[in-house]
Symmetry: D2
Subunit: 425 residues, 4 copies
Amino acid sequence: MTAISDIFERRESEARSYCRGFNTVFTKASGSMLTDHKGRSYIDFLAGCSSLNYGHNDPDMKTALVDHIMNDGLAHGLDLHTDTKADFLTAFETHILEPRGMDHRLMFVGPTGANAVEAAMKIARKATGRTNIIAFTNGFHGVTHGALAATGNGYHRGGAGTSLNGVTRMPYDGYLGAEFDTADLLETMLDDASSGVDAPAAILLETVQGEGGLNAARPEWVKRVADLAKKHGALLIVDDIQAGCGRTGRFFSFEEMGIKPDVITMAKSVSGFGLPMALVLVRPEYDIFGPAEHNGTFRGNTHAFVTARVAIEKFWKTDDFQKELAIKADLIAEGLAGLALLIPGATLKGRGLMRGVDVGSGELASEICARAFQKGLVIETSGPNDEVVKVLAALTTPEATLAKGLNILLDAARDVVETETKAAG
Amino acid sequence: MTAISDIFERRESEARSYCRGFNTVFTKASGSMLTDHKGRSYIDFLAGCSSLNYGHNDPDMKTALVDHIMNDGLAHGLDLHTDTKADFLTAFETHILEPRGMDHRLMFVGPTGANAVEAAMKIARKATGRTNIIAFTNGFHGVTHGALAATGNGYHRGGAGTSLNGVTRMPYDGYLGAEFDTADLLETMLDDASSGVDAPAAILLETVQGEGGLNAARPEWVKRVADLAKKHGALLIVDDIQAGCGRTGRFFSFEEMGIKPDVITMAKSVSGFGLPMALVLVRPEYDIFGPAEHNGTFRGNTHAFVTARVAIEKFWKTDDFQKELAIKADLIAEGLAGLALLIPGATLKGRGLMRGVDVGSGELASEICARAFQKGLVIETSGPNDEVVKVLAALTTPEATLAKGLNILLDAARDVVETETKAAG
Amino acid sequence: MTAISDIFERRESEARSYCRGFNTVFTKASGSMLTDHKGRSYIDFLAGCSSLNYGHNDPDMKTALVDHIMNDGLAHGLDLHTDTKADFLTAFETHILEPRGMDHRLMFVGPTGANAVEAAMKIARKATGRTNIIAFTNGFHGVTHGALAATGNGYHRGGAGTSLNGVTRMPYDGYLGAEFDTADLLETMLDDASSGVDAPAAILLETVQGEGGLNAARPEWVKRVADLAKKHGALLIVDDIQAGCGRTGRFFSFEEMGIKPDVITMAKSVSGFGLPMALVLVRPEYDIFGPAEHNGTFRGNTHAFVTARVAIEKFWKTDDFQKELAIKADLIAEGLAGLALLIPGATLKGRGLMRGVDVGSGELASEICARAFQKGLVIETSGPNDEVVKVLAALTTPEATLAKGLNILLDAARDVVETETKAAG
Amino acid sequence: MTAISDIFERRESEARSYCRGFNTVFTKASGSMLTDHKGRSYIDFLAGCSSLNYGHNDPDMKTALVDHIMNDGLAHGLDLHTDTKADFLTAFETHILEPRGMDHRLMFVGPTGANAVEAAMKIARKATGRTNIIAFTNGFHGVTHGALAATGNGYHRGGAGTSLNGVTRMPYDGYLGAEFDTADLLETMLDDASSGVDAPAAILLETVQGEGGLNAARPEWVKRVADLAKKHGALLIVDDIQAGCGRTGRFFSFEEMGIKPDVITMAKSVSGFGLPMALVLVRPEYDIFGPAEHNGTFRGNTHAFVTARVAIEKFWKTDDFQKELAIKADLIAEGLAGLALLIPGATLKGRGLMRGVDVGSGELASEICARAFQKGLVIETSGPNDEVVKVLAALTTPEATLAKGLNILLDAARDVVETETKAAG
């Protein structure tokens, strides 16, 4: 096949999106590389929007999954007990929860991040008997009705075609610059019985806002918000869907912030292999749903349990992987600092391995990404106006590939800047 | 392993459900059979709640999926173009849409039925500028906030912890017995500008209510409702998540009803293999979302595209499968008629291969299922009070296995009835 | 003054309404007669939409009110104790509540019917911890946001500019004709935990729907709904704003129906004189608001207390007035039966002294009223399409005036019918 | 009568409020004086919560009203044209609107402030097709469902028994101290399409928050908010119910702020006499309701038109009254400055003739008011914790009476402080 089939044009909904920016047909993927139908290879700095933290088709997960299938292991088991689920739970308990002193239980929800967020919001409301949930500017939590109410993005909100209620919006850390601590406002409003902010069921936050433009909250701000939640009888929900699974350098994004979220939502990379899977981690006192009170056919994707277990055992048994991540995070930061220097006013955003550069406008960011794609790099933007060039490389990307990708990105940016300068000149 | 691991008790949320009724650990599955950790085999009349219409681990799908994985086909591709998606789209167009004269487009949504329903509701609201959606008594459409508003079940609704708005509830076909045509009420209310029922964005219905107790609407009622939708400028959304993919004897549950739904939601068996996948079929004039306006990381599960394509090519190229289904539907109806005779007042419910018997009480239905499980049959209940014993066998179940399963069910019912008679006597 | 001032056109909002149909400037009013700026007199069969049940400027109330003002009695006292309020309360207790065995308390709300309905809905929700309120097709309860959700009329609902939630709509008595008892549907839905109708905080109804087209519910239907409310833990709220204060022949419209509403809303004629006043009668166990929890500057209109007391003492001390009403009700029914005979397909509507004729179309009803106005009768329409010519004469209208007004109405109808016949012929 | 009748206890709802703090029965009122059933006189610094800006029973209004009644002028006229309404409209146009260059129309709504606010919110939503309304911390706009959503007070919000939606809460001017201009936050959030604050239908504000604790916004803040409303296509609604009608020194509270609100809500003192009346002033381009689209039986209280006309002609024809107000405002400010000196940490609040002292705690404020009442002064508190002693004397209060009242207040405060000091010592 050499031409892109017109079947997409003819039969796939206009809602399709990434394919518009990366207009080819991909056929193979391995590690940090994507290959298209013409045999061309691309370095992948998108990584399934952080769903492929361990790269494409990790060989160990692949082997385990193929073995499972060949042995007629269950593909779909609703929420029946399976050996596969037991093994995943055990690995998650042993290597993730216990070492971090976490007593959370795992609730298998429908395999989308939005479903995890919806379940978390329902838990908080049912547990507290309150309805108000505090969410933040530029937060992104999914586009189903409940989750969308918590999402800040106006384009997505507009898709609802109706009002989105039950959420109070507060400014995220740094929203008004470094001088003003937005937690002051939150505290004042919560302390004031006449503020019009109803007592919250939960405070819902990302520690780094991936879609919102790679805004990284300061640990002390997160801690303060967590304390306010506790003081006011609200649950703290950390949405770790994009920032979790090692993306910030540790398994959870909030480690070392001194907080213990009541509820944590996970999805994206939790299966390790890019398979659909979502989780709600919930402290036992809030594990209040009755059997199937929140349900869904695909809660618990057995294939994903297989790969998720391998991912945990392979990467999180020791702290070797974490040490690697620290080194790679520095590499990325360094590379992006170089990019920022090319563009007047550009600023470095993010934390760990979810980093980017705010280049000031969505047009510019988009041109840089388009040029990078021509040069063999898949990379995307984020932010309220898509003004942040965002690096979400697989965490397992070899250093040489990381360097190569960053170089392509710099070349692309240089090209775009030069072209603009000429055009202006 | 002989004991059931206590990891489930320790770390899995109380929301777990099916595992409570079928308290063993399943390890293998093939066709219509499940095997547990003790090597015991069960006939599966649950079939992943209609997610395994083609049985467990269909050999052709299995082969295709393993080949795909071994060849480093993409596991996760966001909504990038892939050869796998192109092939699936082509098969769906060729064997499903074109033969039925359908111009619908496929919108890949997050891989849960609820996500498909949420997308459908958003489409209807955005397209019409209206917010009201008409749904029916005993309807089940998922448990995320938007979809849950349309779901009738009070237990699930209660899980929201907040009000569920934007939906007007109307009585489903037969809700008040055969004498009263509930479409009369719908028509009168829609025609009356002072009824208090706001002009609807959509009418949302299942042609057979799977979770609601296997209530099968009469084709003429569905047709009339479809006409009312059109007359009042509302979209007709058919939720074919449980009833679609051959479950009623044809690919879609509404074939031969003379209607053309504006939007159709699909999930469960659409991947063919039990893998998470959901679809919204939408007529071109309502394909109104902009790029990623409704989005989600797992929209489009590449593994599922592989198996879904095989499923379509294997089962829906010709009408052979459909003919088989007619025969099996009769077998099931016959077997269940026998069951109904055992229990005073019991009535046959459902249509095609989603059939059951309303035994009058949830307790009785539950005892029958429990006894059947002891005898080697996995079978569940549905209905507002779980009073319907529900057969959802894989459509591919061999006739002999169907007969065997039905016999176990009859034996189980007989045992329970006898025990009760003795106890009463 | 002979011309109508253009000040109305220039400075009064387009929302003005009655003045469009009765396009003159009224300057005086007494009993059942209105006089305009040209000195022309009209019989008033509108009576302030049932706010002037005792006619305009009743001489006893007038005297008491003027005395009060001349003596510097309070005009405005918030909800301070005043002698005037004490006297009103005492009269209401002695002549209204005690003889009917009612233990209700009086809550003085903002002086609009809508405010009374809002307070009633809040009471029900706070008392039960539930949010759903059941209201009926064609019900009218006001146009503020909470009350409007319960109002059926689509024109008024459209004015909200947003969704109206928290209300489930059920068909009123007779909505689908005499054969179908709509209470069957209500009962079935409330008994069915999976109907999608959440457990109600209240059932809210008018026993005669004044704005909705003079639909009079059968006592046995009201009783059955009351019993369903009790059975399901919901409060029964009777909105007696238009039908109360003698309009149906007794003080309350629900007397002799064997029910005891938990909450009763009153407004319109409760002041006796047309002054703004609204009341919520609430049984002691539901008198649950804390001080000022529902408040408002004009809760308790002192001038209205003065006239309301006189009204009660003058008309409700004995049953003489009630006996008169029975006679007048018959006169009206008789006169309207004559009207109905003139118009093919016309039907008599209403009960007591809120009677009308459904003439089949809003155009026809409107023409009849316009012609009647030319002949010296002020009369209006109601109903979903304004198709009901509605007689709401003051209850004190002398029989001769009633007869005269009815004759004008008949003449007007005859004229219109003849004109139409000619036009058609 | 010497004892307070127990009829209140027996038959008036627990929602009664002011009568608890001023536990006597009032029988007469004139100017700034109230008299109780024992003949005791009180200076009235409550003035019907700013509903009696011209004092009790103003002799000119009284005469006009009695004349009207004696002449059988209409008491109730729905929204029919009356000579009385024409005269009021003419006076309002001539002396209020025209001199201020205002082209607003008058919409007569149900006679409660809440009704005016509900109508204003509906206008904004209908006009813009948007649903979100921005309101501020500590704002008070009424307790019906729509208005209550905009009200900040948690006690009142709790009375709803359900969620209150459609309003985004922003911090009022000075909410976080003088250093932080809260309009910065509003601007940033409105400019940010991803802030989660949906494009607003309106910004709704009081220029001085009466119930919220006499917070007076700076003119430049109000102007900036007005500009933001215009920039973002939102209507500016000024709720002038408490602050209007001269209370801040001019007829409208926003005069000389350089703004032109699209919608203004009025109630309380607009009738001049304490009679129930409410108004929405709306610019012609937003006068979009159809006839009766927002309606209500008591829209337009004819008695109130009579007194309202006199009030305007008597007080607002020239600027004499305004000049007096400036002098009295100074007297009050001076007196209260003295009060503030008595109490450590106390601060002066408010503007014009709506002034008070924040004494730091609701207990202290309440004790001061209770002691003042013993000494013959009726005065109340406001603020989120009722911590502000609030002077709302009639604007017509003679200077000597003002001085006398302020002296009583100072004495009361001194007593309370001394008692507390002794208790502590």
